[in-house]
């Protein structure tokens, strides 16, 4: 905490006070302007496109998607993995970095966590969209039923059900618990009747008494401790959807760490993509500082390295295994029919992030924004490569085949962004999207008798 404070001081501005945190953050909740409504309606418009595409697909038949017989999974599963991946960094930032006491997480963690929850909500749609009979998707849930049947616990897809539902529950709970004191702060400042009621109910009557804080802190630590393994496990389980199969290009033990690193990679990029406009729109420059961007850039650099290493390892393993199918698959990816997505992925995920070795670029907001979008595209392509390329060239050459991209898939993909964006947009206007309490925690408390080196701070009074 100390060194963070020092970094603040280095900015040659007055240190942040408790009151300023509240003021800045709660200012975000003020009645929205046209821009916000425009954003919201754009998102809803996209969502309507997506929803109508889905209904069209259900009405007409699953054939409206692009899948074919060798390629049973396509855009939807790519989207699923993509969104689960996006979700990951949220948990990483909120839980893992909390445990590591990495204080740079504080200003961005709420945003990251909201992103997690909404991304999981988005990701969770895709398995349902992608099944042939979505109205029976609930058969994957082990509930007592008149058929006396249970699901197959040996299937990675059932693990997915467990992993994703647990992940959603835990991250949503974690998110909500973290929100409680901040909502209480919002409640205490709320003016309109609606907001009073909204915050009054959602803060559950939080007061911030010493016992409450005591249990809260203990519980929060436990939540962080519980969510931390999820960071590793959820995407590992998702990766097992592939790794547990025998498809060349999927059947690899490297998948869990590879997927987790990729998820964090894409998630951090997504946090940057969201944080930059938010920071600009709500003038959060004093809360989300270049220091944070620098730290996230380093995280990107690290995970990009891990991801690149995984790519190389995949190729090495395929060569080393002397398995003709694996070898063919990894020859096919760079030099086959779909070379473009492969090289696109390589550029976006391995080459472009290397620019972050340059210090000035790490804090160059415009550059980071562009790079984060490039990385997101790259990570989508990575999943495309894994899913499409592997399925299109499996064991039996006679059964090799292609994919038929359809506008329905594009519609649903766009709709997913609309769905995610809609929740994000609503969230930033109704709930504090920067963690008030947690930022305050890293600020030095106002002390009359400065025990440490914070004499200056204690002199600054609020009001």
């Amino acid at each position: 905490m100390k060194h963070i404070h020092n970094e603040h001081e280095s900015e040659s501005e007055a240190p942040v006070t408790y009151a300023e945190v509240n003021d800045t953050v709660l200012k975000m909740l003020e009645p929205p302007g046209t821009g916000w409504f425009l954003l919201l309606f754009t998102c809803i418009f996209f969502l309507v496109i997506g929803a109508s595409s889905w209904f069209y697909q259900m009405w007409s038949g699953y054939g409206e998607s692009g899948n074919s017989i060798p390629i049973g999974w396509g855009t939807y599963i790519t989207n699923f993995v993509f969104w689960v991946g996006i979700a990951h960094s949220g948990t990483l930032i909120s839980a893992v970095l909390y445990l590591f006491r990495a204080a740079f997480r504080q200003p961005i963690y709420r945003l990251a966590e909201a992103m997690t929850v909404f991304a999981v909500m988005t990701a969770g749609l895709f398995p349902v969209i992608h099944v042939g009979r979505p109205w029976y998707a609930l058969w994957l849930i082990p509930y007592p039923n008149e058929r006396a049947l249970w699901p197959n616990f040996r299937s990675p897809l059932l693990w997915d059900v467990f992993a994703v539902s647990t992940y959603f529950t835990i991250s949503a709970t974690f998110f909500f618990v973290g929100l409680i004191p901040d909502i209480a702060a919002a409640r205490d400042r709320a003016t309109t009747k609606f907001r009073k009621a909204l915050y009054g109910v959602t803060c559950l009557g939080w007061r911030g008494s010493h016992t409450q804080w005591k249990h809260y802190q203990a519980a929060y630590l436990i939540f962080a401790a519980l969510a931390t393994p999820l960071v590793v496990s959820v995407h590992s389980v998702v990766s097992w959807d592939f790794a547990m199969s025998i498809v060349p290009g999927w059947h690899a033990t490297i998948f869990p760490p590879y997927f987790v690193a990729g998820a964090i990679f894409s998630g951090v990029a997504m946090v940057i993509t969201l944080a930059i406009p938010l920071r600009k729109a709500f003038n959060l420059h004093r809360l989300i500082t270049p220091v944070h961007f620098d730290a996230m850039s380093k995280l990107i650099l690290l995970t990009s390295g891990v991801v690149s290493y995984s790519y190389i390892t995949e190729f090495y393993t395929a060569w080393f295994s002397n398995n003709p199918f694996e070898r063919f698959q990894f020859w096919f990816r760079p030099f086959g029919e779909y070379w473009l997505p492969f090289w696109g992925m390589t550029f976006c995920n391995c080459i472009a992030p290397q620019l972050l070795w340059i210090k000035s670029l790490r804090t160059n907001i415009a550059f980071l924004f562009v790079l984060s979008i490039i990385i997101n595209i790259g990570m989508w392509l990575e999943r495309f490569n894994i899913i499409f390329q592997s399925l299109t060239r499996e064991f039996i050459p006679a059964a090799w085949g292609g994919y038929n991209f359809s506008w329905v898939e594009v519609g649903i993909t766009v709709g997913a962004f609309g769905w995610f964006g809609m929740w994000m947009t609503l969230f930033i206007k109704f709930f504090p999207s920067v963690a008030i309490t947690e930022i305050k925690e890293i600020l030095p408390p106002p002390m009359r008798r400065a025990k440490h080196d914070h004499g200056q701070v204690s002199a600054v009074n609020s009001h």
């Binding site: 109205w135 609930l138 849930i141 509930y143 007592p144 039923n145 008149e146 058929r147 006396a148 049947l149």
Partner: protein, 217 residues
């Protein structure tokens, strides 16, 4: 305090309603006690027990699923054929009319000629309604048209029930179809949902391999 008690009342109420249906379903199953003496519980097994918990809306609501697959489905038939008169009062054997039940997977609806065997010249019916119905039968027969009976036991696709095998294994008709002899209008007494079949299969040690029933035939 008021709120709390209200909650309790609602909870107890819901439980009571559920329990009512629960027991009622069992009650229904036992509704017809002792005709003829087959000595088995008729069409109960775990009927409804698991179904109460089933979240599958498509199986439960008529808006999503066919009414014809619900217990108690009792359609109006083109001719008011009464099993009471034929079976209970005149002691006819099931197989006399449904003759293919032990020969084929299907228990055939009797040919009109079978009906005409008695009703053609001999039996004209006692009641007014009965006379009318027999006239109807003759009309159909003379026109050479089949009677458009309404299916009572509508089963979903991809379930192949074999009457012959069940009959030969000693399953009495009443066990699934209920006390048909006492029905003036045939009604579906068993849900014929999968869990219902399975509980009997398990109880009697019959195969619970999916393909036993979900094979094509």
């Amino acid at each position: 305090m008021v709120k709390k008690s209200r909650f309790v009342v609602v909870a107890v109420g819901i439980t009571a309603v559920l329990a009512f249906f629960q027991f009622q379903s069992v009650e229904n199953g036992h509704a017809t006690p002792d005709y003829p003496a087959v000595g088995v519980r008729t069409g109960v097994y775990n009927d409804g027990q698991a179904a109460l918990w089933d979240l599958n809306i498509t199986d439960h609501f008529h808006y999503f699923g066919p009414e014809q697959r619900a217990r108690g489905y009792k359609p109006q038939q083109p001719i008011n054929f009464s099993h009471v008169i034929h079976v209970q009062q005149n002691k006819m054997e099931c197989q006399y009319c449904h003759w293919s039940v032990n020969k084929s997977a299907y228990a055939a609806i009797p040919e009109e000629e079978t009906c005409m065997g008695c009703h053609g010249a001999l039996v004209a019916g006692k009641s007014e309604q009965g006379k009318k119905d027999i006239e109807k039968l003759k009309d159909y027969y003379n026109r050479g048209e089949p009677i458009p009976w309404v299916k009572v036991h509508v089963m979903p696709d991809y379930l192949k029930f074999n009457h012959k095998r069940h009959g030969k294994a000693g399953v009495a008709c009443q066990e699934c179809h209920g006390q048909i002899p006492e029905m003036a209008q045939v009604e579906r007494v068993s849900s014929m949902k999968m869990g219902w079949c399975i509980s009997c299969h398990r109880e009697r040690g019959a195969s619970i391999d999916c393909l036993t029933c979900h094979s094509h035939r």
